[in-house]
């Protein structure tokens, strides 16, 4: 694609009045270049594609020469006059493609742009988040302002917070008017029998979108067989025949004129599409899928377009459409929205563009094949079918004991005492049976339990309960944290969040591939050891009765930090030994 380029002979005009400079227009994906024939001419032009805002072209068949008007983002326009329409169309399409590509590109760029190029909106969003979330603000203050983390690093772990809003900005499609095509009423001048239809590009677009058959006919007949004007006249004649509901006349005229017949017959393309759509519908009950159906194109039922439901002779049936069909079709098109983005006055272009869109969606439908298969699977009785053979490796746990015993540690290995057991089995069972016999003959032992033992057990259990109460608090739902004085509690919570923040950055920096990461880890480590000492200090400062509990709370934090320090030391050591032994060539990229 990159290598593609197009060369056309054109005349360049800086304005409509300009007589124009002849030359060659070279089109490439990233830019277009105009080289005048006269090397001395200073009208040499270079336009970056991404700077082009829009393009306009004159309509074929109008009396104007084939002009292509490019407007750049600064609002300046460049007009190129082509030798013929074919050249112009080729160029226009090329630019359209390039433009489409350009639109994707900026997104990629945005990712790589750094903070300096951050849009104002993003900054505002960040400020807003900080304002709203005091905890976030504290963290931000603690780490970013003390230079432990850079602004970017801080936000990089919170993309989700930022991302939420950016989705909302997505481009909205231009909608369609909800007026129906059939609602285009002719205006009569009252004196003659002549009726006039007013046609605007928007209406044409709508007609094409709603009636693929008309679109197809347009592409087939115009301009080869008839002029655009003739085409529309014919179309509206057909429409007029409908509105009069005179099916006999319609049938008669259709018999005479095969082009007219095209408009009168039910839309074959639509029917085909519908059939396809129906095939795509999940046969399992799905209310959502049924919502937008338009099965009515296949069956001929319902009320007539104008709300009457007069009976028509059966052989003229094909010249009759129901209101329901029209309504559904219109609704479908409105829902689809304006799927093409061509702002062209040229009817043919519109028709072709619509065609392409349809073809694309047809390709989509091929992708649907897979879905169909899935549906057929679902529709079948699952439990009656042979098991699906998924290309998956089965989980093969060789010995479940491996899986489990780790939990048990070494204790378990003891009672697994092999041979001795076998001998004991029957003795053991005999013992058991003897016990049962004993109870059978003598009854339960009486006294069941010595009063002293009972009291001892009861008081020891009561002790556990009361100590548990002291630990957990009077109310089990209230955690120990709530019993701490408020400043201490806040401090503990704050330490916890900041340690999490630090650890997250710390661990995500590994493996250290760049100097940047190296320094970052260093900074983080310092900050962490700082926090560590703060934790120690806090432990010392709390009242003695709470100290044990606080130290229990602090322990997991310190353990997490210890693990990080350990890793840091080990990594440092490994790298120093390696740089001594390994030689310079093996250093990973960027590491100094």
């Amino acid at each position: 694609m990159a290598g593609l380029q197009l060369e056309k002979r054109v005349k360049y005009k800086s304005s409509v009045k300009d007589p124009g400079t002849p030359g060659i227009l070279r089109l490439r994906e990233v830019m277009l270049l105009f080289v005048p024939e006269d090397p001395k001419s200073d009208s040499k032009l270079k336009v970056q594609t991404q700077n082009i805002k829009s393009q306009k072209s004159t309509k074929e068949g109008s009396n104007k020469p084939p002009w292509l008007n490019l407007t750049n983002k600064q609002g300046r326009s460049h007009i190129f006059e082509f030798e013929n329409y074919q050249d112009m169309h080729a160029c226009r399409e090329f630019i359209a493609k390039a433009l489409a590509k350009c639109e994707e590109e900026p997104k990629k760029l945005a990712v790589s742009t750094s903070a300096e190029q951050l849009s104002i909106a993003d900054l505002e969003l960040r400020f807003k988040l900080l304002r709203e979330n005091s905890e976030l603000q504290r963290l931000h203050k603690q780490f970013v302002e003390s230079k432990v983390l850079t602004e970017d690093e801080f936000w990089a772990t919170r993309k989700k917070l930022l991302g939420k809003d950016s989705i909302r900005k997505s481009k909205q499609q231009v909608g369609l008017k909800s007026m129906m095509v059939s609602g285009i009423k002719p205006s009569t001048d009252g004196r003659t029998n002549r009726v006039t239809f007013n046609l605007t590009p928007e209406i044409i677009f709508q007609i094409f979108a709603e009636k693929p058959a008309v679109r197809q006919a347009f592409i087939n007949y115009v301009p080869s067989k008839m002029t655009e004007k003739d085409f529309w006249t014919k179309y509206f004649r057909a429409e007029y025949l409908y509105s009069t509901k005179n099916t006999a006349v319609a049938a008669a005229e259709a018999a005479e004129d095969e082009e007219l017949a095209v408009f009168l017959k039910p839309d074959e393309i639509l029917a085909r599409e519908t059939r396809q759509k129906i095939r795509r519908v999940d046969p399992t009950l799905d209310m959502e899928a049924d919502q937008g159906d338009d099965y009515t194109h296949l069956m001929d039922h319902g009320i007539q377009r104008d709300g009457t439901s007069d009976i028509v002779e059966p052989h003229n049936d094909q010249f009759k459409r129901s209101l329901v069909q029209d309504l559904n079709r219109h609704a479908a098109v409105v829902l689809e929205g304006r799927s093409i983005d061509v702002e062209s006055e040229d009817t043919r272009t519109v028709a072709e563009a619509l065609m392409r869109v349809k073809q694309v969606s047809k390709a989509d439908s091929e992708a649907n094949q897979e879905r169909l298969e899935r549906i057929s699977r679902v529709a079948g009785m699952e439990d009656l079918q042979a098991p699906q053979n998924f290309p998956l490796a089965l989980l093969s746990i060789k010995d479940p004991r491996d899986y489990f015993e780790s939990q048990q540690g070494n204790i378990l290995n003891e009672p697994r005492g092999g041979g001795g057991l076998k001998r004991n089995i029957h003795e053991a069972y005999e013992l058991l049976k003897a016990s049962i016999l004993e109870i059978k003959t003598e009854g339960l032992c009486d006294p069941l339990i010595k009063p002293e033992v009972a009291l001892e057990v009861f008081s020891s259990l009561t002790r556990t309960i009361s100590t548990a109460k002291n630990i957990i608090g009077k109310n089990p739902r209230e955690s120990f944290l709530d019993r701490l004085p408020k400043p201490t509690k806040d401090q503990v919570l704050h330490h916890w969040t900041s340690i999490q923040e630090l650890l997250r950055h710390f661990w995500s920096s590994y493996p250290i591939t760049t100097t940047y990461l190296h320094t970052k880890v260093g900074k983080l480590k310092d900050a962490m050891s700082n926090t560590y000492s703060q934790l120690e200090a806090m432990k010392e400062s709390v009242q003695s009765d709470l100290r044990h509990q606080v130290s229990l709370l602090v322990r997991p934090m310190q353990q997490a930090l210890d693990a990080a320090f350990q890793h840091y030391e080990a990594d440092l050591q490994r790298r120093t030994t390696k740089s001594v032994g390994g030689g310079g060539g093996e250093r990973p990229n960027g590491y100094v």
Binding site: A393, L395, I397, K398, P400, R401, Y403, F404, S406, Q407, Q408, G409, N410, I411, L412, P415, R416, G418, L421, K422, N424, I425, E427, A428, Y429, L431, L432, K433, S435, I436, E438, I439, K440, T441, E442, G443, L444, C445, L448, I449, V453, A454, E456, V457, F458, L461, T464, I465, A468, K469, I472, P476, Y510, P511, I512, Q559, R574, K578, G582, E586
Partner: protein
């Protein structure tokens, strides 16, 4: 939690499913005699039945190689033979004793065909848990009005690792049914299964220290019906250790490597999962310095 219908049935009516460990290996090795143990348990069951006319007790024996229902207080066929009532055994348990005897005989017969050497002397806890849940499920489906069920495991033998998955599934089923599993572990070690079962299902786990006072433990802790538990405090384990042990050295670790296929845990990076055999890619950490890492790892593996 309780539906309106079950409220109609008085609050403290309970269905107690007791899983009785009859593992011969355990009972031949422990300090408390089985007959003494049974005395305590029978007295406890009698007490539970005595608390409310509508209380129901089901006993499932958990043997070494099988498990079976041995008593159901709601069935009519268990009103004891005259013989047992004459010697002063609770009349209700005449049939229980007989069934227990039959069960043990059958359990012994089953064991002969098996290879004993390779198995830990554990009881078939998963089986009896499933049976208890089946029974409870049937009670649930019998109508809107039913007693509140709970399960009590009286376990002495160690956990059977080969039952891990089955036991865990039972535990989670119980959790879904909102059936608490109480557990009273009288063995020498500690049962991770039962600890987890009680923790997950909101039951009580306790390890009695004095086995001769078992009855006192049972009545003080485990006789408490579900309704009363909303205003009575029962002993809770001091803490649940959520840290995992690695599969390779059985060390308790804070950080480790987890097989993405079978979730086995390792304390160091391996090339291959020792549990399921999945081949691992290079760890990210090693990517940074592949050469040095290989050197470092070589002597270990």
């Amino acid at each position: 939690m309780a539906s309106v219908a079950s409220k109609l049935y008085s609050d403290d009516v309970s269905l107690l499913v007791l899983l009785l460990d009859t593992n011969p290996f355990f009972w031949s090795s422990t300090s408390i005699k089985f007959s003494q143990f049974l005395s305590h348990v029978f007295a406890f069951l009698n007490a539970v039945l005595g608390l409310n006319q509508l209380n129901q007790v089901v006993v499932i024996a958990t043997g070494y190689s099988s498990c079976d229902y041995i008593y159901d207080s709601s069935s009519t066929s268990n009103h004891g033979s005259l013989e047992s009532s004459r010697i002063g055994l609770p009349a209700l348990f005449g049939s229980l004793i007989e069934k227990l005897e039959d069960f043990i005989t059958k359990d012994e017969e089953l064991i002969k065909e098996e290879e004993v050497e390779d198995r830990i002397a554990s009881s078939l806890l998963s089986g009896s848990l499933s049976m208890a849940l089946c029974y409870i499920q049937r009670v649930f489906r019998s109508g809107n009005i039913h007693p509140q069920p709970r399960i009590l495991c009286l376990q002495g033998s160690p956990d059977g690792p080969e039952q891990y998955v089955a036991v865990m599934n039972s535990i989670f089923s119980a959790q879904r049914l909102m059936v608490p599993i109480d557990s009273c572990y009288i063995g020498a070690q500690n049962s991770a299964f039962l600890q987890q079962a009680s923790y997950i299902t909101g039951g009580v786990h306790h390890t009695p220290k004095q086995l001769d006072g078992l009855f006192q433990y049972l009545t003080t802790i485990f006789a408490t019906d579900l309704h009363s538990r909303s205003f009575v405090q029962l002993p809770k384990p001091v803490g649940v250790d959520f840290r995992a042990s690695c599969f390779c050295h059985k060390k308790t670790i804070d950080m480790g490597y987890i097989c993405s296929v079978c979730l086995s845990i390792f304390c160091a990076h391996h090339k291959k999962c020792s549990t399921c055999g999945s081949v691992f890619g290079q760890s990210k950490l090693d990517d940074a310095s592949p050469v040095s890492n290989k050197k470092r790892k070589a002597p270990e593996t």
